[in-house]
């Protein structure tokens, strides 16, 4: 395993909640804290590491409703639609994806809210701003799995 892979492996789980967590992780890998922080800075610089952060279970934070909304956006307007959707704080993820025969939806937005009504409001707002009216709100009915990726 490369040095970077070891660092990724150490950060894909939880960091210890203590004053100097990286010093402890580095020691476990036989590295100095300085060296470990250097690798972190490099991973961040290259965009491999987006950030170190707290990941919240949204339902327990009061965001009980979520819907994946799939939109049928004319190809020429995909970028402006994506940018408009991305500007909404209620939308956590926005991607353009390939379409398939019988499935013409090309833009996907994950919408979160404290209620279904909040979700409907966000969707209605996006319809109004973009003029795109053809969409499917795929409300989540049951969660089978939600984890973070284990890389190495």
């Amino acid at each position: 395993m490369t040095l970077e892979e070891s660092v990724v492996r150490a950060l894909q789980g939880d960091i210890p909640l203590e004053p100097a967590p990286f010093k402890k992780i580095a020691a476990g890998l036989g590295l100095s804290e300085e060296k470990f922080l250097g690798v972190l800075a490099e991973l961040k610089r290259r965009g491999v590491l987006r950030s170190i952060r707290a990941i919240v279970r949204h339902k327990r934070a009061g965001y009980s409703a979520n819907a994946m909304v799939a939109w049928k956006v004319p190809e020429g307007r995909a970028v402006s639609f994506g940018k408009t959707a991305a500007a909404s704080p209620a939308i956590s993820h926005c991607y353009q994806r390939l379409t398939r025969p019988g499935w013409p939806y090309n833009l996907y937005t994950m919408v979160h809210g404290r209620s279904r009504a909040e979700i409907s409001k966000v969707v209605a707002g996006l319809v109004k701003k973009t003029g795109v009216k053809d969409y499917l709100a795929l409300e989540s009915l049951r969660e089978f799995k939600k984890t973070s990726m284990v890389y190495f």
């Binding site: 590491l49 987006r50 353009q96 009915l141």
Partner: protein, 150 residues
């Protein structure tokens, strides 16, 4: 009702924990909260299960992984069994039953090229009860920012 300090800490920790020697002190300094108080709040939220994890958030592709979102139509009587089988694979990170023609949606990633992802999808497609399965790989990313102001 969430108290002021708790909200400040949780919102800031969801955005970015600095990659420095004393990250919680640095985080606290930016919002006027002591290191000890930051740690206390984060530990409490972790214990209550509001925080799932505190760690690195990576750009999957830059680590040599390929991934996709897939939608399936599964016979209702087989839905839970299929979902459980798919969820056993470590590269499946999200798996949800959703309303609509396609009733099971999941994300799957593997180390290597998209061919590996397609192979995995093809094996899921063969599970009993699966009537249709489509993969929708990303063409362009506009936003990934999970942030739930408490």
């Amino acid at each position: 009702m969430v108290k002021g300090v708790e909200k400040l800490v949780l919102d800031a920790a969801q955005a970015d924990i600095p990659a420095v020697s004393r990250p919680f002190a640095a985080l606290g300094a930016s919002i006027g909260v002591s290191e000890a108080e930051v740690l206390k709040v984060l530990k409490a939220y972790k214990r209550k299960g509001v925080i799932r994890r505190i760690g690195g958030s990576f750009e999957t592709r830059k680590l040599g992984f390929s991934s996709t979102l897939a939608g399936m139509r599964v016979k209702p009587a087989r839905l839970a069994a299929v979902a459980k089988e798919i969820s056993k694979f470590p590269g499946v990170t999200h798996c949800y039953e959703r309303a609509g023609e396609m009733n099971l949606w999941f994300t799957v990633g593997v180390h290597g090229t998209m061919a590996g992802v397609d192979k995995k999808i093809a094996s899921f497609r063969r599970l009993p009860g699966v009537e249709k399965c489509c993969s929708f790989p990303v063409k362009r990313m506009f936003k990934i920012k999970t942030m739930f102001p408490i």
